[in-house]
């Protein structure tokens, strides 16, 4: 459990309410305490590549990225495309968490290298479940891969 606890989860979500609900869902289980919330794509890219406000942060690679698609400035697709084309970030598992059920979004996300695509349910409990499962699954896979 310690290993999981020290793993950093990146939540990229412009809606603060959705972000709070998601984080609460993950934290309820007291498993994932290190969650970093980034409000849009631009911030996410700055954080990942240690630019701008994040230029001085500790160089820790996040273990999982939960990525919303529709965001101001730089949207989720752009973030996904950027980090999947960069060797240093390519291996980080990305779970798309979005309200969009549009088929073209699903197809495009997988094309760009998303590891999973989750439609945000209206129900809070469902949302927490989705976040937890995605977190467990990808962290477990990632841990195995990095060993």
């Amino acid at each position: 459990m310690d290993e999981i606890e020290c793993v950093e989860i990146l939540l990229v979500e412009d809606n603060p309410l959705d972000a709070e609900l998601t984080m609460r869902g993950l934290k309820d289980e007291k498993l994932f305490n290190r969650i970093v919330w980034l409000k849009d794509g631009q911030e996410a890219l700055d954080y990942l590549y240690r630019r701008g406000n994040y230029a001085t942060r500790e160089d820790i690679k996040p273990g999982l990225i939960l990525l919303d698609l529709k965001m101001p400035r730089v949207d989720g697709m752009e973030v996904l495309a950027a980090l999947k084309s960069e060797a240093s970030t390519k291996s980080i598992p990305v779970v798309i968490m979005t309200s969009s059920q549009e088929e073209k979004d699903v197809v495009k996300s997988y094309d760009l290298g998303a590891n999973s695509y989750v439609v945000k349910p209206v129900n809070f409990e469902d949302l927490s479940d989705v976040a937890r499962q995605a977190g467990f699954y990808w962290l477990a896979i990632n841990r195995r891969a990095t060993r």
Binding site: L17, D18, L21, S99, E102, P121, V122
Partner: protein, 633 residues
């Protein structure tokens, strides 16, 4: 005709030939016999006379030398023994009559006064002989003897006999020829008779009979063969005649048809064309074109030759000239403006010209027409303008529609993303409130919080269904042959596995395969079967039946249940979006399912309908065409 009197002709010829031959033979032989008789008789006569004269002269020689007249007369009297002697005389050497004998009643001529030289000559009916009486080379005197010359009578008698023989011969020849005719000319005449009948009656079936085996048989055979040939020819001729007669009739009909056609053509020409004209190879008009004058006001001297082109609009004359200069022997048609005198304006006309091409391929002349198409042209232009406007409007409308579609798409996207977010927040935070502060709210507070949570969930479901519905309107149908049996079975299986109520009894009929979009048709089955399951849930023993009927052009699939059913009065509202015929507390649902079914089936080119009796169940039907749906409904 040439056979006019054949019988007489041939008979006469036969008779003539036979008669002539007999006559000739008889005359020649008779003449020869008579001549021979006449000569031999004369020789006998002369011989007798000479002998007599010789005897008498010898006997009279002494009498003369002794000048004994008495003895000389006695000697001469001896002549009486020869009845043919008419008279006799002795002349002395001095030529004086010395003795004479004249037969009494003998008709003797007078005695010559003087003796003549020796010789025999005819004198009237007598022969007269003078002979010297010589003794010892001394001429003593001359003997004269006159004797009857009966040669003429003898010849006459012979001639009589000859004539009698000739008569008899001719009679005989006639009889023989009559008999011969039967044998020889009979068959020929029979042939001739048949020939005459054939000619007179035109009956070529007649045949001559073979009577004998000689050359006439050959003739008859040849004649019959000729008749055969004639009969065949006549038949052929008759057939040919009949055909020709028919042909004549046909030609007559054709001629008549041609005339009718020509008349029609003329009427047609005058009705469809304002002007018809004929031009030579150079395009010059040489004939009267009265309609042209009526139309353009040009008199003949104004349009004759090539001047007619001046009636065209100045801007179009170049076109006319250009067309003519091309000089191609092909029909041509141009539309130009022509001066119209009655209305005083240029009007659009269609000028057509067709080359009249001769056998050798050269153009003899051009035949043409001028038709007023002004009104038609104006209407066409108007139509064209209207069409262009319409097209423009369609383009604009299409662009607007596309924009609207695009807007709708972004709207749906916004709905899916932005509308769900607040609902999610309401749901989520009310849950947190209940979780973290539920104990402070009391029973009533928790009840209200539950309502908020339940309704936010329902709101989410409505949004999801609405999104699905709008997405279906945009999704392209990808048809393939669907095994309806498999689809319905797997949908049913999926539904019943999760189903917690009384397991229904399924009656499965045969479901034929049809063309459709797999995902969408699966959705149709899912919605209809889940409805059936839902509305029959309150039955003790729910029964759900699926089946299909094959119609001419489509398959009719149906899902029947024995559930609550619906009031048939509201049938029309059944398939509307968010239309519900049941209370939400009675049966859950958003009211989108059947609207979705209708939308999918309609887009496949099918129909949907339902029938029901309240509390006895409902039957939902949908059709799919047997032909591949194009998916662009």
């Amino acid at each position: 005709m040439i056979f006019k009197r054949p019988l007489k002709s041939i008979r006469l010829k036969m008779l003539l030939v036979l008669g002539a031959v007999s006559l000739l033979a008889l005359v020649v032989s008779g003449t020869a016999m008579m001549f021979n008789d006449w000569r031999s008789h004369r020789e006998v006569l002369v011989g007798q006379l000479n002998t007599l004269a010789d005897v008498v002269s010898r006997a009279s020689a002494p009498a003369l030398s002794f000048d004994d007249q008495k003895a000389a007369n006695e000697n001469l009297a001896l002549m009486a023994a020869a009845p043919a002697i008419k008279a006799a005389a002795l002349y002395s050497a001095k030529g004086v009559l010395f003795a004479k004998y004249i037969r009494t009643g003998g008709g003797a001529a007078a005695l010559p006064k003087l003796p003549e030289s020796d010789g025999l000559r005819a004198a009237g009916d007598s022969l007269v002989l003078f002979k010297r009486v010589i003794d010892n080379n001394e001429i003593l005197g001359t003997l004269y003897v006159e004797t009857i010359n009966d040669q003429k009578d003898r010849m006459l008698a012979s001639l009589e006999i000859l004539l009698a023989v000739l008569g008899a011969s001719m009679l005989l020849a006639f009889l023989v020829s009559t008999q011969l005719q039967k044998a020889v000319t009979g068959p020929i005449l029979a042939v001739a008779d048949v020939a005459r009948q054939v000619v007179d009656n035109r009956d070529f079936t007649l045949r001559a009979k073979t009577v004998s085996q000689d050359e006439t048989a050959v003739l008859v055979k040849a004649f019959n063969a000729m008749l055969d040939e004639l009969e065949r020819r006549a038949a052929d001729l008759e057939t040919a005649n009949r055909q020709m007669a028919q042909e004549v009739v046909d030609r007559g009909l054709a001629q008549e048809a041609l005339q009718v056609s020509e008349r029609r053509y003329r009427v047609l020409v005058t009705t469809i064309a304002a002007v018809t004209w004929v031009a030579d190879t150079q395009g010059a008009w040489n004939e009267d074109v009265s309609e042209w004058t009526a139309y353009t006001g040009q008199r003949k001297e104004e349009y004759a030759g090539l001047k007619w082109w001046q009636a065209f609009h100045a801007d179009d004359r170049a076109t006319v000239a250009q067309i003519w200069e091309r000089n191609i022997a092909e029909p041509l048609e141009i539309v130009v403006r022509l001066w119209h005198q009655p209305s005083g304006e240029y009007r659009f006309v269609s000028v057509r010209a067709v080359p009249n091409i001769e056998g050798d391929g050269t153009v003899a002349e051009w035949i043409g027409s001028v038709s007023d198409i002004h009104d038609k042209r104006m209407i066409e232009e108007e139509v064209r303008t209207l069409n262009a406007e319409l097209e423009q409007r369609v383009t604009v409308r299409t662009a607007q529609l596309e924009e609207a579609n695009h807007e709708l798409e972004s709207f749906s996207y916004s709905v899916s993303h932005d509308l769900r977010a607040p609902v999610r927040a309401v749901s989520g935070f009310s849950r947190i409130l209940a979780h973290d502060h539920g104990h402070q709210l009391g029973d009533e507070g928790n009840r209200l919080l539950n309502i908020i949570q339940g309704e936010s969930v329902r709101m989410g479901a409505l949004i999801d269904d609405l999104l699905t519905f709008s997405r279906l309107g945009r999704k392209a149908i990808q048809p393939s042959l669907l095994n309806m049996q498999d689809i319905a079975s797997s949908v049913l299986h999926g539904l019943t596995v999760q189903y917690e109520g009384t397991q229904p009894t399924f009656v499965k009929g045969t479901l034929p395969s049809a063309y459709g979009d797999r995902a969408l048709i699966t959705q149709v089955w899912t919605n209809l079967l889940s409805n059936a399951l839902k509305f029959s849930a309150k039955r003790d023993q729910p029964v759900i039946e699926v089946g299909a009927i094959s119609e001419e052009n489509e398959y009719v699939y149906f899902v029947r249940d024995n559930g609550a059913g619906f009031d048939p009065r509201y049938k029309a509202k059944l398939f509307g979006v968010f239309q519900r015929l049941h209370d939400a507390t009675e049966f859950s649902g958003t009211g989108v399912g059947l609207a979705l079914v209708q939308r999918i089936v309609t887009r496949h080119g099918g129909r949907v309908w339902a029938d029901s009796v309240i509390d006895e169940g409902a039957t939902f039907c949908f059709t799919l065409p047997k032909e591949v749906a194009d998916g662009r409904n």
